[in-house]
């Protein structure tokens, strides 16, 4: 993009904040040539990430995830349903992603955010493509009863890389999920087992004790911005609005490519850039895996 030469001269005279608002792209370019971003990060560096498991006490599994200031709250509610005829021994996961007006000035009350259904679709595609949850594990009685897991993700603060944070919170909530103990009563109905009457009644326990899902390869994602020859990992909302071309890559723990998502954008992605982004994602997967493992082992100690 050609920028007015005037901005070059002004950069020495104007206040930094004014310059940032008037010539945002030029402001970023001044930083990028020095291989640094305005918030002090290196180009390839993601923001600090934290996972807090069990943030919602009433849910069977939940997680609060922060990537920088992007905040996601995910919670899972389990309900018993009758499985479909096509797959009688499989449960199901229903994923919904919400962007309430609290998360960003762009979202107005009464009007749902345009990106919310898109992210929601991407999340369910990613989780089903990765095969991370074996749906057979959610079965209770073949053909009669199975678990339906309602996974709801709320975006509390949308400061860029919304999909990354949403996916991380979804996987963290699934890893925290405790499937409740249930039994079948005489009418063939599934009832929750309370702890004391477990074996006294002549009930057939279907799911004897609380258990966790055995998660197979867990998917992790990284969003990068492509701008000229620069690759900026884990962008903030400001960076996303100024430099429009985004690439989101999802890799699982065994380095399979689950998704390579680039919806348009003025910068074209060539093979070297694609490989660089994949390499960055590989690093990030390791980082996120260890953060998630740490959060899980901290839960076990408690």
């Amino acid at each position: 993009m050609v920028l007015p030469n005037a901005s070059e001269d002004l950069s020495t005279e104007m206040e930094v904040d004014a310059f940032r608002r008037l010539f945002p792209l030029r402001y970023y370019e001044c930083h990028l040539v020095e291989s640094i971003r305005p918030d002090g990060r290196a180009l390839a560096r993601a923001r600090d990430t934290t996972i807090a498991l069990g943030a919602v006490a009433s849910a069977s599994g939940s997680a609060l995830v922060k990537i920088g200031s992007t905040t996601m709250l995910a919670a899972i509610k389990m309900e018993v349903m009758t499985p479909t005829m096509e797959s009688p021994d499989e449960g199901c996961i229903a994923i919904d992603f919400h962007m309430p007006p609290i998360c960003s000035p762009i979202v107005r009350p009464g009007r749902p955010a345009e990106v919310a259904p898109v992210v929601s679709k991407q999340l369910s595609d990613t989780i089903s493509s990765s095969g991370m949850v074996d749906l057979k594990e959610l079965s209770l009685v073949s053909g009669k009863a199975a678990w339906m897991a309602f996974l709801d993700i709320y975006c509390l603060d949308a400061d860029g890389a919304v999909f990354d944070a949403a996916l991380l919170s979804a996987t963290a909530a699934l890893s925290h999920l405790q499937i409740p103990a249930v039994s079948m009563n005489d009418d063939g109905k599934i009832v929750l087992m309370s702890e004391e009457d477990g074996e006294r009644l002549a009930q057939e326990p279907v799911n004897k004790e609380k258990r966790k899902l055995a998660l197979r390869s867990i998917p992790f994602s990284l969003t990068c911005i492509l701008y000229k020859n620069y690759i900026l990992a884990d962008p903030t909302a400001e960076e996303e609005s100024i430099m429009e071309t985004q690439v989101t890559i999802v890799l699982d723990s065994s380095s399979q490519l689950i998704s390579f998502y680039k919806p348009g954008g003025s910068v074209l992605a060539y093979t070297p850039a694609i490989q660089d982004c994949v390499a960055l994602t590989r690093q990030r997967v390791k980082e996120l895996q260890s953060i998630l493992d740490e959060a899980n082992s901290a839960m076990e100690v408690e």
Partner: protein, 243 residues
């Protein structure tokens, strides 16, 4: 190693393509694009004055309305709308008509696999028909990866369901331009090797994906040739729509 395809095509053979333009009387531009049994109709209205909320008024804005064959519009269609909108915005010269909105309406006539690429091709032909200024054309293609790692191009619905993964890829077409050839190169690769859009489903290895890219690029060259051919005769015969 060859993979047998139910319709007897070779792995890199596309289904028969057809494209016709100017089929709707009231639309400013329209086109239908057929790939085998998959058929999509696209209409373009605009540029109309004003942009929608949250859009940059300094640039032209594109709005995409996706009409499924039957039933209500769901999450899948919303995602297609978003991908289509962003892809089309990246090929339009948006600084030319600032503060205007161009509506692109996509009507699915029949879905037999590779629906999104088909819609992108139809939309692109309709934009040309409407005389919207474009930087270059876009060519979309679907590549699917079999369990054996073989890449099959342009799968139909049955094949799409059987494959372990597939990728929708959109490439720019090769520019025929008066500019010196060097300016169309980015680094060592020609411009048409860059990806505008990529959407994938299912798990594959990174090498599989790069393999898809290579095969997609080769096939997109043929498709962009076809697109250019089907756009040219009408351009010279119909001066009323030029400009």
């Amino acid at each position: 190693m060859e993979v047998d395809r139910p319709d007897g095509r070779s792995p890199s053979q596309l289904r028969p393509l057809s494209c016709s333009r100017g089929i709707l009387n009231r639309a400013h531009g329209s086109a239908s694009w057929t790939q085998g049994e998959t058929k999509v109709l696209a209409a373009v209205y605009g540029p109309k004055a004003g942009t929608r909320k949250n859009e940059n008024p300094e640039k032209a804005c594109i709005e995409v309305i996706w009409k499924p064959k039957t039933g209500q519009i769901g999450k899948l269609e919303r995602e297609s709308e978003m991908v289509l909108k962003k892809s089309l915005e990246s090929i339009c010269i948006r600084s030319m008509y600032p503060n205007t909105t161009t509506s692109v309406i996509i009507q699915v006539v029949h879905d037999d696999g590779a629906l999104l690429p088909c819609a992108i091709n139809a939309a692109c032909a309709a934009l040309v028909d409407a005389g919207i200024p474009l930087k270059h054309l876009a060519v979309a293609i679907c590549c699917s990866v079999a369990d054996s790692g073989d890449v099959l191009l342009d799968p139909n619905k049955l094949e799409e369901e059987k494959m372990k993964a597939f990728a929708y890829l959109v490439f720019p077409n090769a520019c025929v331009s008066v500019l010196p050839g060097g300016s169309l190169q980015v680094g060592k690769e020609p411009m048409e090797h860059g990806i505008i859009t990529s959407v994938t489903h299912g798990a594959m290895s990174v090498d599989d994906y790069l393999h898809c890219l290579e095969r997609g690029r080769a096939a997109s060259a043929k498709m962009s040739e076809f697109l250019r051919r089907s756009l040219q005769p009408q351009l010279s015969a119909d001066p009323s729509k030029a400009g």
